[in-house]
Point group: C2
């Protein structure tokens, strides 16, 4: 408006989200976005389309916030897609055009999409001695049978309240099958903890929940993942955020998280049979060599682990522990590791 | 045992699960498996390995049932994988060897894997006026906030009890984003129904739940999916089961289910803009032509719909309804269709 009144070329200032503006902040131990800004101008043929799209997305967000409703990023795209009157030009050709514009807005406003009333995909479950409140409903996560509480996309404090917590720590589990094992064995009751699974790489809602459980309730976070490059990557994203969502690291990352397992060292110490190890392929080897160089894998324990894996030539899935017995993980392995505080940093 | 005492060649009798033994049962309106059996012999070099694997899986199932625990099919594989003493032969080389053996056992015993204490992948959520009981916990699906109740893998009557139901029908929704829209608008409260999403093709637990809600509580089932070959396929699997799991059709299929939408006819009747339709690709066209020939798409309403789609040359996602307004689906489209009982058979 100001720009229009001054008869200037209207423009929007946006943080640069490419690798050149991403760095690891050694103080906060998070992947962060730098100060570089770019301008998106209306009167610039290279910018006009994106400028129009940015304003469309922003005004739709304003509309749904005012209406007090939320929607999905796919719905947002459908609601905004139309042919511009008097032309053959569509506002958006596909969702791959509207998604990055939304990320631009999130980073420019320093707001999560959930705060703009947009929902990301959700997955993941939690069980344990915590009572939460969601839209006026009180949910006791210790009374959720075999399912657990399904973690929604929006877990911001306005939406999800921690009413009462009695748990002492959190175990984040890569795999749902392992979560179900621990839930069936009432591991969370015996150890008085919360168990969460992200079902693979956790969705944003799950990462934000972990962040809140640590920051607001002071709960230590232990990550339980496969002993392979993907499992270690999942851990690193939980811990210091990701390059893609670097502008949200302080809300999605939890630098104090620890890695409880699985490691190739565990395989030796707990006598896991060679039959259930998996040979590293070329992609694994390349990935491990890259990870050895990452600043967040510099602590000597991680250097040892990554080099040990490369030398041993194998990786392990959490299910490998089942070869020692179905309840080995809940009755022996995890209680042992927790008692000894045997974690990687 | 009998065979061994008689000094016969030990063998196991298994239903033939190939296409040659699959048929559509017009009376029950389900895809069924025929009577053909094959024998798996111990003393036959072509059968020995599979014979050994079948017994290993069967004995592990017996063990976990006796221990009163459940496990995942991946854990089962890990628990059984080992090198046979005195040889270099492994019992299983990969899970792709143990999974079909389990399906053999399910069909031979006419039991779901859940009854053998094995868990399949789970996904899907439910909300509405129903109280269920799971492992001694009572869960009120009308008080589950923005999440809904997460549908577990095992929903057999021993595990999941319907304690009290006040809902009048069920809407099964292909997409979670649409489920979230209806949940936020309290559609299940206004219409007094249950809303379920399978998040794409529903997992076994979700299909079994639908089957039980219809059979035990007499609830009509309405399926809400995209107007495209994949959406119609999801509906057909809910309705008459699938070829892969034909031996389970009577437990996983619900022949009385109806298709509430979306259709290309809806697109015309509700004035959905051309901008939000998607052009059919060659794969879609081929698939629709195949579907026109399927015996379960023979009712004239389906023949008309499939031919209309082919002629119109486009498909639609549920999100296309958002172009008429975010709450159009919950306030206008669905109430309209339900009032008029405007369903496809």
């Amino acid at each position: 408006m100001n720009q229009l009144q001054k008869k200037e070329n209207p423009s929007i200032s946006l943080p640069v989200r490419s690798l050149s503006n991403i760095y690891f902040d050694p103080v906060h131990k998070l992947i962060k976005i730098g100060d570089k800004k770019s301008q998106r101008h209306y009167l610039n043929v290279a910018h006009t389309r994106k400028f129009m799209q940015t304003l469309l997305v922003a005004s739709e967000c304003k509309k749904i916030i005012e209406q007090g409703v939320t929607t999905s990023i796919r719905d947002l795209y459908y609601a905004l897609k139309h042919t511009i009157e008097g032309t053959k030009e569509n506002t958006f050709e596909g969702q791959e055009e509207s998604d990055p514009v939304l990320e631009d807005l999130e980073s420019a406003l320093n707001l999560l999409r959930e705060e703009l009333h947009l929902k990301a995909d959700r997955k993941g479950y939690m069980a344990g001695n915590i009572m939460i409140e969601d839209s006026g409903d009180r949910i006791n996560c210790a009374k959720m049978g075999s399912s657990g509480w399904a973690i929604p996309s929006d877990v911001e404090p306005e939406m999800i309240k921690f009413v009462e917590n009695n748990a002492k720590f959190v175990v984040l589990i890569e795999k749902d099958a392992v979560w179900q094992r621990l839930n069936e064995d009432k591991f969370w009751q015996k150890q008085n903890c919360l168990i969460i699974t992200g079902k693979g790489q956790p969705a944003r809602g799950c990462r934000r929940l972990i962040n809140r459980l640590h920051k607001e309730l002071g709960l230590p976070i232990y990550v339980l993942a496969d002993a392979d490059p993907w499992g270690y990557y999942i851990y690193s994203v939980i811990k210091q955020g990701s390059i893609n969502l670097s502008f949200l690291s302080d809300r999605l990352g939890t630098p104090d998280a620890k890695f409880i397992g699985l490691t190739t060292k565990d395989a030796i110490e707990y006598g896991i049979s060679n039959n259930v190890t998996i040979k590293l392929n070329k992609g694994d080897q390349k990935r491990i060599k890259e990870m050895i160089k990452y600043v967040w894998f510099k602590p000597k324990e991680w250097q040892q682990e990554l080099k040990r894996m490369l030398k041993a030539g194998y990786k392990l899935e959490l299910e490998a522990l089942s070869s020692k017995g179905i309840r080995f993980i809940s009755e022996k392995y995890l209680p042992d590791k927790i008692r000894k505080q045997d974690f990687l940093p």
